[in-house]
Symmetry: C2
Subunit: 367 residues, 2 copies
């Protein structure tokens, strides 16, 4: 794992940019970007010029970015919990802006369209300008502003698929939402409380966030320390579990018959101690799924990953995005933006999420 | 584990009956019953007189049995895969007949009612007369005969909860049903093909049963040996898996995004070699659930157990039984009875299931 110090990182990056395999200088732009140059320290996130192809391929579009959405996945990447790509690479899974160039085979997007770009399998979205496969772009309806649209994909889609594709959430049921003040938790609370309605929403968060999550629709707020002593076994229909690890067993205990735990993350791997960086995938693989309890209790465990869904089932994904845009237009969901940082302060934004200080979405803005 | 030989078993049972803790002789009847006197051999299944309380308790009813339904659970009990109760005990989870006595607190059942009795948590149903909690009895509608009613509970309810409570089965989907010629498989095929309709039904069975399962609604028949080479990964919405063990991983591989494996049994524990009797619960506990595949593939694993459901959620269970009776009345499901054995040949009936020679339900008849 590369853990370059500041100076050598800068030198190495300059070299890497100059030695790019793209031979013709006119084919390459240099675009201000948030580059991860090593794992485990916020100092290794650099905001620098980084190469980008000047001409997009036939199925791609170029987008001038206005806002970027910060996700917990960015924390995993920074810490080294997920080692998907060799450093250095450009961070960020989502951004939003205006289409400025369209590949020759793209029919559904046009220059001037406002779009959200979501690239969970490629990253590279935290920069002034991005080139994205057209299938990963979603045209923003006229009455939703670009900033709000940039909060609607990763978080609301996770909540949407959890409750509607897996959970079959219905009025009269009880749900438990962990990290109810986080991006996914905030979205999930609204889907349960406003879209379905008549749902008992149990939510966990630090105590200082309880007032806010209750305002958002949580009916009973708990801390991570006390929730399992207050909620009874066989009380919950759906648990959205972004903690993973040992918590999966706890979540299963709380389920009613035909209840479901939907695993959306493994935040338990984010440790304070950098010397013991846990790997997210290894932690998922070794999560304790109490199979006998599933069988004897008529329970289920579901895994959710937006990246593979968008890659393998783009139509399902696009239909869900349209639903979310429509719910936003109807005023049934109202994203909360915790803070907007300039692109140059991306590392501060990621730190804020890692320290779980946010309530709702954190954005970056291209100055 | 008791493995008495024939003679000593008989002697011990006589002693046990005579030394019953019920002191007043007039309180005890002796009723012809199928008694398991030890594990691992069909010889240890004895059809003998066995004590039964003469007067049922306030929430119980007595039923004069006409038919009993044989289930794979009886095989587990005989083999010793499930050691729920110390031997000797009366085998059997379901029977059907006429109510002959009603406890003082029972309001919903009357002498003369025809009922199916289902006691997955107590067994004791293979006998001429049974005493059953009233919550475990289901009144048979007038136009369904007692024999047919005795095929409708364990098998059809398993299929019903798998597809409708867990699976959310819809027209246009693809399901894989293991043991499509067995009791649950036969029922599940009908629910998919006749009740939902426009469902692609993949089914496994021995080759000599393929004609029959196709007649029942299976659209593509496979053997256990070749199914995984013919069915593609990401092709199936719901797998009903009664094999368990290593097969769970195979089943998960075949799922589409948002697909579900529903674990209804662990038939893999039924070994030919009696010296290596695997325990069903241990095998469930150690089943390989590929958690990372669940997450990366947007998949889920569900456990189904009718016993705990009936105990903890009788209302849910009773509602489902009414649905099944109604589907039968409408002619949308048509149980197939493979064979009817006299009570005295219970061990032959259980052996037939263990050797997987049946197509559809096997019943016992009180002579």
């Amino acid at each position: 794992m590369a853990t370059l110090d500041n100076k050598s990182a800068t030198a190495e990056i300059s070299e890497l940019i100059s030695s790019t395999s793209i031979s013709k200088v006119e084919d390459v732009l240099k675009v201000r970007s948030v580059v991860l140059t090593g794992n485990g320290s916020y100092d290794l996130i650099k905001v620098i010029e980084w190469p980008l192809m000047a001409k997009c391929a036939e199925h791609e579009v170029r987008v001038a970015v206005e806002f970027c959405g910060v996700n917990f996945a960015d924390v995993y990447h920074m810490k080294g919990n997920v080692l998907q790509w060799p450093v250095p690479y450009v961070l960020g899974l989502e951004s939003a802006g205006k289409v400025t160039q369209v590949g020759s085979a793209v029919r559904n997007l046009h220059v001037g369209d406002r779009v959200v770009c979501y690239c969970p399998n490629e990253a590279g979205m935290f920069r002034e300008s991005v080139v994205v496969p057209s299938t990963h772009c979603f045209v923003i309806p006229g009455d939703i502003c670009t900033k709000v649209a940039c909060t609607l994909i990763a978080n609301y889609l996770s909540a949407y698929f959890a409750f509607f594709s897996f959970g079959n959430l219905r009025s009269g049921q009880t749900v438990l939402i962990h990290s109810a003040a986080g991006g996914v938790g905030w979205a999930a609370t609204q889907l349960a409380a406003s879209v379905v309605g008549n749902v008992r929403v149990l939510g966990t968060a630090s105590e200082n966030k309880h007032h806010d999550i209750v305002t958002n629709g949580v009916t009973e707020a708990f801390t991570y320390e006390n929730y399992s002593t207050h909620i009874l076994d066989a009380e919950v229909d759906i648990v959205i579990d972004n903690i993973g690890g040992d918590n999966v067993k706890k979540s299963v205990d709380l389920l009613k018959p035909f209840g479901r735990v939907i695993l959306t993350g493994v935040n338990c791997v984010v440790q304070e101690d950098e010397s013991k960086v846990a790997k997210a995938f290894e932690s998922i693989a070794s999560s304790v799924v109490p199979m006998q309890e599933l069988v004897m209790g008529n329970k289920s465990v579901c895994g959710l990953h937006l990246g593979t869904l968008l890659r393998d089932n783009p139509k399902t994904f696009h239909t869900a995005v349209e639903q979310i845009f429509s719910l936003c237009q109807q005023g049934l969901i109202e994203p909360r933006i915790h803070a907007v940082f300039p692109l140059s302060k991306a590392s501060e934004a990621i730190k804020l999420l890692a320290e779980r200080k946010n309530i709702g979405k954190v954005l970056l803005k291209v100055e």
